[in-house]
């Protein structure tokens, strides 16, 4: 058990190292110069050189990378070139909670809407309801989230004035305010996942419902809600969790557009402006956090299997 865990951690570190070199290198290779962007058009060559030297951007690539990596590991994530903010505070304490809140809301929506919809589709297989849900799911997968976000804003926020257009309120400080501000962005980001979970739940549940243990449960005379929700749904938990873990990347990717449309100060917006401004160290911080998040969640998924499936628990 310990050996396995250590192995996983070592793997994680190697992956993070590769990710950090790749993102650092790619951004450096991309044409564009942070100093030119910072100084706008009105600057002299002297100002350019003095700033380049001050920020250490005149150093060779490997020296810059090594310098960054050593400090990063020590918790010194550096200062952003333009805004001169402490990157650790900005990325970890300010942006990350926003994105985590958005991602959790979307996941919650996806599960709370997707699973019941999928179960109902499976139970009412080949009815009008099932067909309707299928159409909805297909639309959901195909619909671009930024367009959906704008449509939701126009309808619910501008026309109906039911929800705020934009902005972030921390649910830890103001719980209801936080939820209120997260409903539209959460819904926007989760459409794809609602659709995916609906289809997945339907497909796996139909398969599960044909298993002998379901027939046995029915034969025992258990009420049909119990047969479906307890015996059936419990057995689709494993594929569901696996897919969710693997699709987390898509979710994080979706936060970029959703955060822009709803003006949420999260990692997505942070990364977008950092990439456009060639803020190498901010990009690094964002990439490292998302990579860690992705790997961490998939580790949790692996670890959750024994809880979801008793057959996988170690026998003593």
């Amino acid at each position: 058990m310990w050996g396995q865990a250590l192995g996983k951690i070592a793997q994680t570190l190697v992956v993070l190292f590769v990710v950090s070199v790749a993102s650092f290198g790619l951004l450096k290779l991309a044409p564009g110069d942070p100093i030119q962007i910072m100084l706008g058009s009105e600057y002299s060559q002297e100002a350019y050189e003095s700033l380049t030297a001050e920020l250490g951007l005149d150093q060779p690539f490997l020296a810059q990378y090594a310098d960054w990596a050593v400090r990063f590991v020590q918790g010194d994530w550096g200062t952003s070139y333009v805004a001169r903010t402490d990157i650790f505070t900005y990325a970890f304490k300010e942006a990350l909670p926003v994105t985590l809140t958005l991602a959790s809301f979307s996941l919650a929506f996806a599960i709370l809407i997707g699973v019941p919809l999928g179960v109902l589709s499976a139970v009412k297989k080949d009815t009008a309801f099932d067909a309707g849900a299928a159409v909805l799911a297909l639309t959901g997968t195909a619909f671009p989230s930024f367009l959906l976000g704008i449509l939701l804003i126009w309808f619910f926020a501008v026309k109906m004035q039911l929800f705020p257009v934009m902005g972030y309120v921390s649910p830890w400080q103001d719980f209801w305010g936080g939820i209120y501000h997260m409903i539209l962005p959460g819904l926007t980001l989760s459409t794809y996942f609602i659709a995916m979970i609906t289809r997945l739940t339907r497909a796996t549940l139909i398969e599960v419902m044909e298993q002998p243990y379901i027939a046995a449960a029915r034969a025992r005379g258990e009420p049909s809600w119990r047969v479906i929700w307890v015996h059936g749904v419990r057995n689709i938990a494993m594929p569901l969790v696996t897919i969710l873990g693997l699709q987390l990347g898509v979710l994080l990717q979706g936060t970029v557009l959703t955060e822009t449309v709803f003006n949420l100060p999260g990692i997505g917006q942070m990364l977008t402006s950092a990439v456009l401004g060639r803020e190498y160290m901010v990009v690094q911080a964002g990439v490292m956090m998302t990579a860690t998040l992705f790997i961490g969640v998939n580790l949790l998924v692996d670890l959750s299997y024994p809880f979801l499936d008793p057959r996988l628990r170690a026998r003593k």
Binding site: A30, P31, G32, D33, Q36, I37, M38, L39, G40, S41, E42, Y43, S44, Q45, E46, A47, S50, L51, E54, V82, A83, R84, T85, Y90, E94, A95, I150, I153, W154, A157, V158, Q161, P164, V165, M166, G167, Y168, T260, V261, F262, N263, P265, Q269, M270, T272, S273, L276, G277, R278
Partner: protein, 535 residues
């Protein structure tokens, strides 16, 4: 030019600024400030009310006036700081009025004497006196790291302090650009910052700005908001009117517009041209915007083939159908440009330029004549680099390309990312591109650094030493009529040799909900909120 003439000319040119009224007004404010600081601040505080929320769409790099390169940052900086001078606008004329300065006189054509308002304090409680001004000007001129605006004070030889509130600026030559350089807005070099705060925060001053302005800086949350609160001891009587201002930092203009319509915010510091029709149709908001001090152009790389050929460049300049460009690329909102000098430069812009025969305009016959003289008579294939940047993105490039096809130039549109675009432009790695120089109030800043032979912004490398000389001469002539002649000659050279193909002067828009009252529009992309109140 005699010494006496000179003084008279400048005094006239700076017209309203040193009038008796201005002086009295300045003194009145000084008295008020003194009264407010000794009296109960609670009473002064009661004058302010309302919390304005306004969306800021573009990038804010820093709130340090001496280092920012972005107008969107200046919009906020100008609410926190003051300059020695400020820009005033009466609906037709742009002028420069004293701001922190109470009087400004010329001892001779190279020596300027300033007297500051009395009793003005920075937000940190330190006095804004001659020492503080000297500190700020030197910070721009020779501070470390180097300010990008240092060149604006390159001719400044010495700052001589006479007494606590009086100082003299000695220049090595007469300096006509000075009023623009010394205002706290687009010039930036004359924005006065608190020396104590600069010493305290160092390089982090841009995140902790301390000025003398109507609003104090409170906080800046990245990608979220910048908060300001009223400076209850501001030197202008009865101002500011608002208690609090929040600049909501946004990337997406359409979201900002939706938030404005839903009443979540009260305005936008910038309204892109493509959204103007929607704002017009919305009854609860007012649009502010006029043609500002800018010009857009198609830049050609004069340093390499094929646009090292003057006749090919001339063909391009005459082949652009400006009317169509204004309609298609600028949503019908811009104004055709004949030369770079733009309408808000009221001493220099010719309102009848369209019939004056000066500049460039659309004449396909003429374009074809020039094309026939070009060295390369076959089809010329060139790269037109474009990016999703600027006020209208790639629309200009897409409208221009078919116009060039008519004169046998095949423009391959290459879409690149903005950072790469900037790099390639600065390195001169292009055949064609389009760009805009914005927020200029003086012909010097609109022509000279952009097109002088060794200019850092002369990306197209158009070289003409006669042009350089004319501009250099105009810098040291203070009389507007004489300066105008020199700039017209310089412009004529640029237009005739087609260093660029000039296209349009653009309007710059701001939007406020109808609850917002008292906004004073200035055609230099400013959002000064000291007179604004909420109904």
């Amino acid at each position: 030019m005699t010494k006496v003439d000179h003084k008279k000319v400048l005094a006239e040119r700076l017209s309203a600024r040193f009038g008796r009224r201005a002086v009295l007004k300045g003194m009145g404010a000084g008295l008020l400030t003194a009264a407010a600081s000794t009296g109960a601040p609670g009473i002064a505080r009661a004058q302010q009310s309302g919390h304005l929320k306004i969306a800021s769409i573009k990038v804010i790099d820093t709130l340090d006036p001496h280092f920012t390169g972005f107008l969107s940052a200046i919009q906020i900086i100008n609410n926190i700081h003051n300059g020695l001078l400020k820009i005033a606008y009466d609906g037709t004329n742009v002028s420069f009025e004293p701001d922190l300065a109470e009087t400004w006189d010329l001892e001779d054509d190279k020596t300027h004497v300033f007297k500051l308002r009395e009793g003005v304090m920075f937000h940190d409680g330190t006095p804004c006196n001659a020492e503080a001004v000297k500190f700020s000007l030197l910070r721009v001129k020779e501070g470390e790291p180097k300010s990008p605006h240092a060149w604006k004070l390159a001719l400044l030889d010495e700052i001589e302090i006479i007494d606590d509130l009086t100082f003299k600026l000695h220049f090595s030559q007469p300096y006509a650009f000075l009023p623009v350089a010394l205002n706290g807005s687009t010039g930036r070099a004359g924005t006065i910052v608190s020396p104590a705060a600069v010493q305290k925060y160092g390089a982090d001053y841009g995140r902790n700005p301390v000025g003398t302005g109507p609003f104090k800086f409170v906080s800046w949350r990245e990608n979220d908001a910048i908060e300001l609160e009223a400076n209850t001891e501001y030197f202008e009587e009865g101002l500011p009117k608002l208690e609090r201002v929040t600049f909501v930092l946004m990337n997406e203009a359409s979201t900002a517009l939706a938030a404005l319509m839903a009443g979540q915010i009260d305005g936008m510091t910038d309204c892109p041209m493509q959204l103007v029709d929607q704002v017009d149709a919305f009854p609860n908001a007012t649009l502010y915007g006029e043609i500002e001090g800018n010009y857009t152009f198609v830049g050609m790389n004069c340093a390499r083939a094929p646009f090292d050929d003057i006749n090919l460049r001339r063909a391009v300049a005459w082949a652009l159908d400006r009317e169509t460009l204004v309609k298609q690329a600028y949503f019908g909102r811009a104004q055709q440009a004949y030369t770079p000098i733009s309408p808000p430069m009221t001493d220099f812009f010719d309102p009848n330029i369209a019939t004056s025969g000066r500049g460039q305009w659309f004449d396909l016959e003429k374009a074809k004549e020039f094309r026939a003289k070009a060295a390369n008579q076959g089809e010329v294939e060139v790269t037109y680099m474009m990016a999703e940047r600027g006020p209208v993105g790639t629309r200009v490039a897409q409208t221009v390309a078919p116009m060039l096809a008519q004169i046998g130039i095949k423009a391959n549109l290459e879409l690149i990312e903005p950072a790469a675009w900037v790099k390639r432009r600065n390195e001169g790695d292009f055949d064609l591109y389009d760009f805009e120089w914005v927020a200029d109030l003086d012909p010097d800043e609109t022509l000279y650094p952009e097109f002088r032979s060794d200019g850092a912004w002369n990306f197209g490398k158009w070289i003409n030493t006669e042009f350089d000389e004319l501009c250099a001469q105009a810098q040291v002539v203070l009389e507007p009529e004489a300066r105008k002649e020199l700039y017209y000659k310089a412009e004529d050279l640029l237009m005739d040799e087609a260093g660029i193909a000039v296209m349009a002067h653009m309007p710059i828009y701001k939007v406020f909900s109808n609850k917002v009252q008292g906004f004073e529009y200035i055609p230099a992309d400013l959002v000064n909120l000291h007179t604004v109140s909420l109904a």
